[in-house]
């Protein structure tokens, strides 16, 4: 298949205007010795029907989607209303770039503005950027932002922050003179207050914790916020399951200075991990250090309301090495889908969805922990994920479930060797009671 639009006659006329005989002459400005003297070793071109068949064959090698599975751990299955797919597929949304020319980009710009408003409403922050790559990168950017704001070298990070977020933060800070220390997790599944108190000192730039945390447990944000601020440290809250914000109090209400996280739950499929949607909001006094694109409202020469990208003196194309971040292309189309998702669910729909997550996961946790040989590992209240402890290796439990055609939860052994017998289960609103009962039945058989 070729996507070229020139006929042979067109090419002839164009070469004639340029004043050359062949396209090859245009490459006269390349040294001969570096030119490739052979065809690329790639498969021969496919027509569209062949291409479709080829990908259906590749897709058939993935069997996961046909199974009942209880994986969450930062990536969640929520229902996506049809309007989101129908509207986001429009070429007007899919095929422009960053709205550098606002007069022909009001659609994209207004949607970013609405997205920023929604993020602020959900997080309780004053301002939001237009998106970041994913939750892990958003957490890393939040850490760097805190360091720029107060110039202190130490960041306290909850051990219950998503393990891949912690790894990403480590990669980002490695060469920048920032260090992290982990705060331990207590029996309830939240971080240990006394451990945080012991580790807070005058060098602490920020305290970063996730809520609901990696184990699904809702953290006591008020207590930790006060502790952080008592030591002149910033308080950063990461939210990896953004659907929780539909019913849980906004982190801003507890004094968070920066809220960052992952909004894949808002209208994006699991997608084997990407593209997802990093988000970040902060208090308005930190505006100048916020990374990423920001849309703002203004007026045109006739006094009509319009939107533009603004405050770009923070950004790499103006400030180069002094920019707040190197980010350029972000996740705009994912943010657009999130905007469509949130506006379609609306105030009541989002809350109802969030509450159903709590109800269904609560039912599942009670049902499963009632089985002999299974108990809940943490006592704290949770949103839609919970940790079950078995009498043997969690991976073995998952293997046994596979023989029943079920993919269990995430075995925690790899990320938390101390939780080797534990498995993290996720139940959202898309699971039926029958499916939960099927899992319970399978576990009963496996443990018999």
């Amino acid at each position: 298949m070729s996507y070229i639009s020139l006929s042979d006659q067109d090419k002839k006329e164009m070469l004639a205007r340029i004043g050359i005989k062949s396209i090859g002459e245009l490459y006269g400005c390349l040294p001969e010795e570096i030119k490739l003297k052979r065809r690329l070793n790639l498969p021969e071109a496919l027509s569209e029907p062949e291409l479709l068949r080829h990908f259906e064959t590749l897709a058939a090698k993935n069997t996961y989607a046909d199974h009942l599975a209880f994986l969450g751990a930062g990536v969640y299955r929520h229902f996506i209303p049809s309007v989101v797919d129908a509207l986001s597929a429009r070429g007007e949304f899919l095929t422009p770039y960053t709205p550098y020319q606002p007069e022909v980009s009001q659609g994209t710009l207004q949607i970013i503005f609405e997205y920023q408003t929604l993020v602020c409403q959900l997080t309780g922050m004053d301002i939001s950027n237009a998106s970041l790559y994913d939750g892990a990168m958003a957490a890393a950017e939040a850490v760097l932002m805190a360091n720029r704001l107060n110039n202190k070298p130490k960041i306290l990070v909850a051990r219950s922050l998503h393990p891949q977020y912690r790894e990403t933060i480590r990669t980002y800070i490695k060469n920048l003179g920032v260090r992290i220390e982990e705060i331990e997790v207590g029996d309830c599944g939240g971080i240990k207050t006394d451990d945080l108190m012991n580790k807070l000192d005058k060098d602490t730039s920020a305290v970063l914790l996730q809520s609901p945390n990696f184990f699904g447990v809702v953290e006591d944000l008020k207590t930790f916020s006060d502790l952080a601020h008592g030591h002149q440290a910033l308080f950063i809250v990461a939210v990896a399951e953004a659907a929780s914000l539909g019913v849980l109090e906004a982190p801003g209400a507890f004094g968070a200075d920066i809220v960052c996280g992952e909004a894949q739950s808002f209208g994006l499929a699991p997608s084997f991990g990407g593209p997802h949607l990093g988000f970040m909001g902060c208090k308005k006094e930190h505006l100048r250090q916020l990374p990423g694109r920001i849309a703002g409202q203004t007026k045109d020469v006739d006094g009509r309301r319009g939107f533009v990208l603004t405050l770009s003196t923070r950004e790499q194309h103006i400030r180069r090495e002094k920019a707040t971040s190197n980010i350029c292309t972000n996740q705009a189309w994912c943010a657009l889908r999130a905007t469509m998702f949130l506006e379609t669910l609306g105030h009541d729909g989002l809350r109802e969805m969030a509450v159903q997550n709590i109800q269904k996961s609560d039912y599942a946790a009670e049902r499963l922990s009632g089985i002999k040989g299974i108990k809940r590992h943490f006592s704290g209240r949770f949103f839609n994920e919970f940790v079950l402890e078995f009498r043997k290796d969690g991976q073995k439990i998952n293997d046994a479930l596979r023989t029943k055609g079920i993919v269990g939860g995430l075995s925690l052994k790899t990320f938390y060797p101390e939780l080797g017998n534990c498995v993290l289960f996720c139940v959202t609103e898309v699971y039926t009671k029958d499916e939960i009962d099927r899992l319970a039945g399978a576990l009963e058989e496996v443990l018999r």
Binding site: L26, I34, Y64, F93, P96, L122, G346
Partner: protein, 482 residues
């Protein structure tokens, strides 16, 4: 023209566009007790389904895009994004796969990652690729981290990174994020790297030279091999920003030029849609010596099956969660397979033909600061029009009236009043001619009626917007009027 309201302004209490099934588990009345909940999210929208559909459909009509017309935004490669690519990426077996799924249940995904890595190696001439970086800038940062890790393993990370003054802003920003101090290299009269300046600056404190090739003027660095020699002689690395790879596919390979690290933008060269500013994908390719440092995880074959390896002690670690923007990678694979080896070469050839056709057609009407031959893009300036008080901004805004998206403006920084035009290979001659005619009309208007340019655009949803006011008094979200 009617402005579309903000969704918050048409919201009314109690309206709905979505309903969930009734709760089918025995729910608890007091389930929220003891949790930090809120009763209300003030201002959160409540609208009906048709209101949603009309809201976004109308907003879509206020966007210009590749599907509507010519979009010669220089350095962004706004080519046609084939529809079949969207269809295959949406297949449920890809879209619904969970990144923590057992490896044996996602063999198709892992195979795709490996295939794309291999094809990018073949196209670029590098030895190994990672598909993890989410976009070009994250690719740059990843690439610089690989260089740093390798230098550290050799004993010393070094202090400086050299970057030409024509470079994209992400280059210095990424180098800085990697802990390096940036030194700028001056361009010579051809717009390329000044070899003497480079030789003078290159020493054993310099970790790398970051070079874009062809550079942001569209000029190929003819001395790329000498450049590589100078950098390598002092133990440094040559990083190539592959944003302009669209000029070179199938013609020559960075790996054959002495490049050690490259990032490629799948959302440019490999036709994945730009989405209004992402998601992109910025794979990084490296020479063999740098492979051990690539971010985790790596896909490899183990016992006849695809598997993920996270146990790589020399790796720089994780640069994001999971495996990159996977569905973007799926689209890029569909594009590579649709085109095949000849089609991939044709990308570059026709992109270069189209750009030179525009350059030749307009070089009497618009000033070219550098007369060096160019490949896939060309950079005009507003120097001739300035005589009549008309700037590149006025030219850009007038183009909107004439039905095309303006070129990239005021970049690269070494061309004052720049208009950077990149037509890409997918445009028809008819559309190229329409652009050329529009530019010629504007050149005439600059002489005869400059006011029509200075007050442009006249036929857009909004006219020129006050960007200064937007920055001075930031209004960054909707708030309920008191």
């Amino acid at each position: 023209m009617i402005r579309e309201s903000l969704i918050f302004e048409i919201s009314d209490k109690g309206k709905r566009a979505f309903a969930l099934p009734k709760l089918d588990v025995p729910g608890k009345k007091d389930i929220l007790r003891g949790l930090p909940v809120r009763d209300e999210i003030p201002g959160f929208p409540q609208v009906s389904e048709i209101e949603i559909v009309r809201h976004f459909t109308r907003l879509s009509q206020q966007n210009y895009c590749v599907d509507i017309g010519f979009y010669p935004l220089g350095s962004c490669t706004m080519k046609y994004n084939p529809k079949i690519n969207e269809k295959v990426a949406a297949l449920r077996e890809f879209a619904l796969s969970h990144p923590f799924a057992p490896e044996d249940m996602v063999q198709g995904n892992l195979e795709i990652i490996k295939l794309v890595e291999d094809y990018l190696c073949e196209i670029s001439g590098l030895d190994a690729f990672t598909l993890q970086p989410s976009a070009g800038a994250q690719g740059e940062l990843t690439g610089m981290m690989l260089i740093r890790a390798s230098l550290e393993a050799r004993g010393k990370a070094r202090k400086y990174v050299l970057i030409p003054d024509s470079a994209h802003g992400t280059n210095p920003s990424s180098a800085h994020l990697c802990g390096y101090t940036v030194q700028e290299i001056k361009s010579n009269e051809n717009g390329t790297v000044d070899l003497e300046d480079l030789a003078k600056r290159m020493n054993e404190d310099v970790a790398a030279l970051m070079v874009t090739n062809p550079n942001t003027l569209g000029v190929f660095e003819y001395d790329i091999r000498k450049i590589a020699e100078i950098v390598h002689a002092k133990g440094g690395f040559l990083y190539m920003d592959g944003a302009n790879m669209n000029a070179l596919t199938g013609i020559c390979r960075p790996g054959d030029m002495g490049v050690d690290v490259i990032h490629i933008n799948l959302h440019k060269t490999f036709a994945t849609p730009h989405g209004g500013g992402g998601p992109g994908s910025g794979p990084v390719g490296v020479i063999k010596a740098l492979e051990p440092y690539l971010p985790i995880p790596r896909v490899e074959k183990r016992g006849g099956k695809w598997a993920l390896n996270t146990n790589l002690p020399e790796s720089i670690g994780r640069v994001r969660s999971f495996f990159g923007n996977f569905l973007v990678v799926v689209k890029a694979l569909a594009y590579i397979l649709a085109l095949g080896p000849d089609g991939i070469k044709e990308i570059a050839e026709i992109a270069v033909l189209n750009a030179n056709y525009i350059r030749k057609s307009l070089d009497k009407d618009y000033h070219l600061k550098y007369t060096t031959p160019t490949l896939h893009e060309c950079v005009f300036s507003d120097k001739y029009q300035k005589e009549y008080g008309v700037s590149n901004l006025d030219i850009a805004k007038r183009l909107i009236d004439l039905g095309v998206h303006p070129p990239t403006m005021s970049f690269p920084l070494i061309v004052h009043g720049a208009l950077m035009v990149e037509p890409t290979e997918t445009e028809s001659k008819r559309d190229l001619d329409m652009f050329i005619d529009a530019m010629k009309q504007i050149a005439r208007e600059a002489k005869e009626n400059p006011e029509v340019l200075k007050s442009a655009p006249h036929h857009s949803y909004v006219r020129r917007l006050d960007e200064t006011a937007a920055a001075r008094n930031p209004v960054l979200k909707w708030e309920k009027e008191r």
